[in-house]
Symmetry: D3
């Protein structure tokens, strides 16, 4: 994935991305659950690095399990810089998948962001770590209280959406969306055009224009937009 | 609805309004779902203007549908100034019913506020539009991803409450309530009295008074309150 | 409960407390529902004082019921200073168990905090009362709209957790946990040690250390930690 | 409660009972959750005997707890003949509150029926015990897996409805309703009349009559009904 | 809609219909909620006749409302023979939209079936009426306890699916699906072919054939199927 | 796993198995969701063979995907005889994971049973296939309508429980439980003893014995039980 495409996408809202994907028939791209822990931050983008949990079982989900070869600790050490980590916590709301220390380590490893349909713990410490987080809230108990970690970089579900390793994730104040890797170029190009068009519509609305015929545009509006569009070049 | 009554109601909390409606046997007046997008704003009031959605169907809920005569765009152009728009989105959490452009147009049309049991999209743009919004959150996808718009100014449900056109809506930090139009005068008058009484109780509590006998008042407290009440005239 | 133990616990996060309780086989200690009304406040601790509601029934849950001997008003007057009040509202989201006046009175009685799996009303007034609150949101209607108060200092459930009078409650930004009273000393002692250990790990991570072998520690890390630990004495 | 009133009520459907209670302003009388384990049985009636559970906590909810003075076993020995036991299991679906042995003992004690918003275990054994049961399903684990028993004959909630000891419970194929004890005579008398009226309407419908003007009746239908009604005496 | 197409569709399972609609990109056609009240009956088909409810409000949803011009009674008298009535009850589980009398009248009017995401009341009487029903369960209280009826033959949602008057409904043991009216011919033709193909596959499986290459078919299987297919003509 | 142990377990109810596992501290063993499609059948046992789904994505979950190497078809051909297949469908209620043909093929392959927290389709055909099924209901649409199949014999969650390949599954009228493979011998031995003890208790209850002191037993009851127990040898 070349960084130029990422630079384009960084200026395209997740709202617009989901509309571009709808043009390709894809309705299930927005994860229902993850919200920005700190709203108002910048839009982030990166290839997906997935984590998978199954429910806890008392003989498996113990503090001792944290030392096993398949552990969240090992997964973190396998994360390349620049990825957005997406964790399938099955929407479990009573077990924080990560706390301050693991977030701090991910930050050290240049992880771009953590996205999960589950919750985190140690709110103060997570904020202090500086790692951007999209999650479904906070809970005091550790992941072992409700979850068993079983692997990384497998296909997962997160917030009702399928995520495959190497899909691209974009997250902003409206939440997080996945772009199937084959559609990244299309979405970047079409999305950038769409943002330009919407910025023109917004200006028209500010001037007092009515919406029917403007958004979506009729032939006359299309012509006026094209005129404005060419004036930019 | 004369504006004097609205001016009185603007000083009555939604909490007090719901208690006044309970005196008339009405328990279902508070919409469970809509929350202020920006807490701490002023209390707003207006006649209800309703919007109705049904679920999406792939042959109906397309971007093309936005140009149809029955569309959210046409509905917006039909909104009189001063109304509070109430949108029945059936609590769908994965499709933003409106984004920045539609909110900006509603603001231009002097809509007082938008209330919905659904979600919006383009959080940054919606905030920039200045339109006061009570909703159940944010999602990136457009309404067509989960919803089909079918009409305006019909009876609807919103957050478990029935809303009819011309009912009166009041919204503040505790959410949004509906006042059936025949009860507006009653609620305004009784509500204002109740607020006065509660302000006196609050002062008494600040002085260290116990609650039993005071709130609700026994005969002695009623007499003391009446004395204070008359001293205001 | 001596205050020295409370002073120790005040420095132990609810995240750490839940991990210490897991060592004793207790997984159900964190209440799923109550969140801080104002995040970022200090951690609070106190013995539990419980309130119990059942569902509303129209012949019982009336404003008149507020004057009965078994009422929230009487319960408040029975609250000793320093307690954390835990109210079982069965997660009902449409009826505010308390508003500004009751919170103001609790504050006057030196109640440390109010924790509930239900909601409050009069958000502005509750904030003004200064009483620290952990709850599941806000609703305009009064408790009688959905709930009947039936007693205090009985065993209750709150957010999926059993609370008995005299259990100890700790609440911070990650929510609220209960410590069974027989385990308070254990949790305070082990928790304080664990916080110290985590602070050392955090420093190591800041220096760039990897997690496997460090968190949880292998023998070498344990030795290094003990060395650092002794250097503090 | 004299048995004559019970004999009348045994012929009144829970559907009709809920309509009679609505005339008195009571909407919350039908328990949402309990369903007949064996549909098609006869309608049952009895005074309520309540059981109360709170969530499990690992230090409390153990097999050992079954020997404690406050236990389901002791509660069963305190049940008078003829009661309908109503158990508040908070809708927990993963822990069977009773199995074959406890149901068999309740049957021996002439308990009329068991109603709960929770689930049972040992389906085959429960059926074999012959105790009529209204519940929300079946689960293999015992109550201690999710619940702690805390007392009997206290006010409880069950399926969103408040139940007080000595209220009257009626259960049939539509589920279970509570009649507040002060309204039992009213409901029996009005309900029997209503059943008679509905039987006449049903006959009219069978003959091909239209519903408007018949159900509810206009003046002409009222007169025709009265004529038929008097012909019965 | 000619009856020949209906006769073809009557032999196509709802499972196959949903697969045919998926070929046209339609995923939202099966109503999540309605189940057959009596499993094992025959498959039914008819044009949709819709009913719409909003939530109850105590000033609106009263027994008196049953006499109003816009009432379920009037709606029933407007139903043509052969329709399948689809009622949007918003999934409300505590208020039975219809009981024995209304079902008996619908049966008299030659209504083919009633489908709803809500519940019915008077289970015994509804069964006795003979009207085929797909619903989400049973409750004793009347519709006014939770619902207000607002109109018929409007677009509605039912079980997460949009239903428009004149769409075609098919219901069997797997539940109920809607076929948009423009797709009825396509679905009937393709569906009948698909049923034939599946019957051949089933026979092959009975003979011991493996699934890969057979279902879906590779070239060889397609050829063998065509041979068998032609042998039928 | 020798078949003798299986023969013992076949006589131990899932209720008793969950109680035996609780003795080992395991509370999460019963899957919340799967119910017998046909109640009243015999208890079944077998090693787990797992199937894993993630949510549908329109570019992945298509009828074409059924021909891919990683498909439910390939998974079925990999199933050894005697296994109990456990499918993680994430509780999705609107997409039937299997229909008549796939069930018929599994039956041909001597699969003992299918257990899932999702739903099936083609109810009539599935019943006709003879494959014993525990599921959460029925839906007409195919799995691709809501699910993407991603692999077999991986760790999964099902109904809130972790299942690993080679764990042992037991299913009866109370649902399905997992026995971690290391605990199978323990559960079989202790469970058989427990069933014997419960059969004695049941006889005592039939004779009119009270529960306290009997169940669980005090010293005197233990002695009487041992006497009876030895009389069997």
């Amino acid at each position: 994935m070349n960084s130029a495409v990422f630079d384009v996408l960084r200026k395209v809202t997740t709202a617009t991305i989901s509309t571009m994907l709808l043009k390709k028939g894809i309705r299930r791209c927005w994860m229902n659950g993850p919200k920005p822990l700190v709203p108002g931050g910048e839009r982030l983008i990166g290839p997906a690095f997935t984590l998978r949990f199954v429910p806890a079982r008392e003989d498996l989900a113990t503090p001792e399990s944290w030392s096993k070869p398949i552990s969240t600790r090992s997964a973190i050490e396998a994360m390349p810089g620049g990825v957005i980590v997406v964790a399938d916590a099955m929407g479990v709301s009573g077990a924080g998948i990560f706390g301050d220390i693991l977030c701090a380590r991910m930050q050290k490893r240049d992880v771009t962001a953590l996205v999960t349909d589950g919750v985190l713990r140690d709110r103060a410490g997570v904020l202090a770590s500086g790692l951007p987080v999209w999650c479904a809230g906070m809970a005091a108990p550790a992941s072992v209280n409700g979850l068993t970690f079983v692997g990384w970089n497998e296909p997962i579900g997160c917030g009702g959406v399928a995520i495959f390793p190497d899909d691209v994730i974009v997250a902003d104040d409206d939440g997080a969306v996945v772009i199937p890797k084959d559609l990244v170029e299309f979405v970047a190009h079409e999305g950038a055009e769409h943002e330009l068009y919407e910025s023109w519509v917004f200006t028209e609305v500010e001037k007092g224009a009515q919406l029917p015929g403007l958004y979506p545009p009729n032939e006359e509006s299309k012509a006026r937009y094209q005129q404005w569009r060419h004036s930019l070049d």
